[in-house]
Symmetry: C2
Subunit: 526 residues, 2 copies
């Protein structure tokens, strides 16, 4: 029985992005009750931090999570960012693939899926609308608006149910969402741990969190420094493809290809353009739309052979080694900590990135498994904690490839240490829409290894001197208990009075490091 094509195509449909993700919510990271709630925290916190920093505001977030029933919660999330102008509110929260971050700029969010994903999940599990209060400046005026809306998945747009002016005291956004089928947990993948890690990666942020039991946690800033504003960085010539050039040419307002190159790429002066023209023989004064694929390809091949300055790194704002140390000390209270921020490098030829790393030993480092502390790997990308998909992540892969025995750690899994790694880039190569793991680019793997090995050497020294001190203390103890016996017995044998030795002994055992071992022998010989 054969059927003809027309019949089979009767069911042909086009979905909107919202409809697609309604059918595939696990692709937004919404799978499992605990993970789903953590992903909601992730998306909302990420957006608040980005917004505040972009506006030059020291971020402060208040989160209130109420449990109404088993697996049924109300989340209220409030920030002190610049707010969202009224006409963008439903676009931000109800249109997927929409956002202000589709630029070559370092930001936590990138995809225009996060906030709308949270609204979708809320709506899918409870049918309840979202409520947003936004305070924002319009010229000199502080405006406030309150809106209640739903997402229309068939059109990928918002449906406003209620709208009124709101009396706000400052700028910022407050969103209230209902969720079912999610679960609050204190586990490593739960929402609480997510906040804790956020503070380590963002010591300039303050987060107040009221948990479902009513307990209020205040995570204070360890630092009052607002990170510099991230800047948009033009793509580097070695990082563009022929398709990128053709795409730019199609959507530019420049009249000549020459000016498109200088204005859309970094490190591309008029002089360099002339060089390209000379090598390729292509007339770069032509209109951008007249650029042919083969020509674009030839230009890209020429770029590959030319020497350029490395991509500008003014757009990359690392946390900084001091800040990371502050964050780690605040949260983990370790015996030992070492941190590093490496110099910018590039992957895929032209995308710059920075690796930062930290190691904490002792105190609250590591994670408790039963009554033992095991190693804990904290992965971050642009300061955002990566909570899931650890196995497939470049950071994990790099850390596992290190020979930890060389650094005094017999078994990475069972050491009481926390390893912190953050990758900063305008284009973090995430492996999936859930943005929970970094693709194993060779240059990234290399840098993570180098950064970690560098600080591991510091830890090795610390562990070595700790071990030496411990052995020393044991030796001193032995000395203190045996020497008096020997002296007394010697006095008896020599038929003399036992001499006064307390002061000498105290001096000897108090003496630091390797000296005293030798010294002791000398004393005994006397």
């Amino acid at each position: 029985m054969e059927r003809e094509a027309a019949e089979l195509f009767e069911e042909f449909k086009e979905l909107t992005a919202s409809e697609f993700f309604r059918r595939n919510k696990q692709m937004l990271g919404f799978s499992g009750k605990i993970r789903s709630l953590t992903m909601v925290f992730h998306e909302l916190i990420t957006n608040s931090l980005d917004a505040a920093e972009e506006a030059g505001i020291l971020p402060e977030i208040k989160i209130d999570l109420k449990r109404l029933d088993k697996d049924h919660y109300i989340l209220r999330h409030t920030d002190n960012g610049p707010g969202i102008p009224e006409r963008y509110i439903t676009k931000v929260y109800c249109t997927m693939f929409a956002g202000s971050k589709f630029r070559n700029i370092q930001s936590r969010g990138q995809q225009g899926l996060g906030c709308s994903g949270c609204v979708l999940l809320s709506q899918m599990t409870t049918g309840k609308p979202a409520k947003v209060v936004s305070g924002y400046m319009e010229g000199d005026q502080l405006k406030g608006v309150e809106m209640t809306f739903k997402m229309d998945v068939k059109t990928n747009k918002g449906l406003i149910l209620e709208r009124k002016a709101a009396d706000v005291q400052s700028t910022g956004v407050s969103i209230e969402l209902h969720f079912k089928d999610v679960s609050y947990s204190l586990s490593e993948q739960g929402a609480y741990e997510y906040i804790r890690r956020t503070i380590i990666g963002n010591p300039h942020a303050k987060i107040t969190f009221r948990d479902p039991t009513g307990h209020k946690y205040i995570f204070n800033r360890a630092s009052d420094i607002i990170p510099p504003l991230p800047k948009e960085v033009l793509p580097h010539p070695k990082g563009v493809t022929a398709d990128d050039l053709i795409f730019m040419a199609k959507h530019t307002d420049k009249r000549r290809f020459r000016s498109l190159l200088t204005s859309n790429l970094s490190r591309m002066s008029a002089k360099r353009v002339n060089e390209v023209e000379k090598v390729t023989g292509i007339d770069l004064n032509k209109r951008p739309k007249d650029m042919k694929w083969d020509e674009a390809e030839e230009i890209v091949e020429t770029f590959a052979k030319m020497d350029f300055m490395a991509p500008p790194t003014s757009g990359l704002i690392p946390i900084g080694k001091e800040q990371i140390e502050k964050g780690i000390r605040e949260i983990l209270n370790p015996e030992f900590v070492a941190t590093t921020t490496r110099k910018p490098k590039t992957f895929r030829g032209g995308v710059s990135f920075i690796i930062e790393a930290g190691i904490a030993y002792g105190g609250d480092s590591g994670r408790m498994v039963g009554d033992q502390r095991k190693a804990e790997i904290m992965r971050f990308a642009n300061r955002v904690p990566l909570a899931f998909d650890q196995g497939s992540c470049a950071i994990t892969e790099a850390l596992k490839s290190i020979d930890w025995k060389r650094y005094g750690i017999r078994d990475l899994d069972n050491a009481p240490i926390t390893v912190f790694v953050n990758i900063i880039s305008t284009n973090v190569p995430y492996l999936s829409t859930g943005k929970q793991s970094v693709a194993p680019e060779p240059d990234i793997l290399h840098e993570v290894r180098q950064a970690t090995m560098k600080i591991a050497r510091g830890m090795q020294k610390y562990l070595r001197s700790k071990k030496a001190a411990k052995e020393e203390a044991m030796r001193a103890k032995v000395f203190e208990s045996l020497v008096p016996v020997i002296i007394r017995e010697a006095a008896v044998l020599a038929e003399k009075d036992v001499p006064e030795y307390d002061t000498v002994l105290a001096k000897v055992t108090r003496r630091a490091k390797y000296e005293e071992v030798v010294q002791e022998d000398v004393v005994q010989d006397e």
Copy 2:
């Protein structure tokens, strides 16, 4: 320095799905040269098999991969399916989130991303248009059309460059695409292995493949049976959410909620609807659009408490244990093979699925690593080989949790076996847009374990009797070499002639199970 909201939102943009994936091609599985090409094979083969089967045609695919230059290929992929009517061609190949498979039906593709993803990758790496020749029936007439087109990512639509009537001999689609930055490989994750596994999971398919060296591989059918047409299955009451009911209510042409329930859900008779009405007290004669969320929720809660027949499984078409065995024998030529197709089960309460498994031992089973054969896990979903993300897949997790020692395999990794697992479902819970791993639903994990342990017992018996036969043969050998000596020595001691013992000895040593071993020895002795 604070910036106000309006300024920050100047850059606000909406992307089309094509633009989104152009920026994030790794989310379609296009990362790495080898993987990218394998994903292209995957998407095109998958679509061809689905189309042929839906039309009731025994699938035959011809693939021709030419290397023009290092990392630069032309791929021509031709099938004998029902073809694509002209007006759908650019929709299929240039519009993302579009397709005919957004139904509750078992099919390999599901997302409307595959073919358009291939065109996008081709265009992004070479700037070349796609060329398609489609032959299809329109009424009694065979029509043929040839089109050359590009994808306009800004609109998520096709741009036709050329269109002409084509002289075709039969129905089917032939597509020609150029690729750069991809690589053909014979490795486990390469395109060749992908085809080989496709044949194991689809023994009714024929694939002819000309590789870049010009060598032509013909993978013949091991079976001439066209799989039955998959049928659309209505969702089971235990598998729907309140959101699903509200969504159905919003987009139905039924006048009453009652008839929406009976026509949109399986196992939902008028009698069962009356029961729901009685329990909930909700008037089900109301118009669908008047259904409130709370009511929908109450209805779903009532479903959860009611007993229903399991979901219909007529829509699930497993490969079948005999077919799997044929496929495995054809490709692996093993010493031993056992296969099973389990009864349908459900996950998440109402989504039915079937697990099929096979184990092959010896022959070409396992994969060569150096000069050793190691275990090979072949994962399939709806007959499609899953080539990547093995670590995060439910199938791998289930197999690793089995105590293989109990089945005569000391170390799974180092055994010369191939384990085959296929999950059949109308809704395979994939973990990502690349559809390469299955979510670890507890019911799925359980079934994979059960299926595998069942056939592993068969293998255990085989291995045991193989071992017994070997020991038996050794014992017989010992017997045959020692008994004559003893008899001769005894004769000497007794001062008698050596008696005739060959017949008796042959009889005795032949008593074992594996006669031929003994037979050979007997022959040698003559």
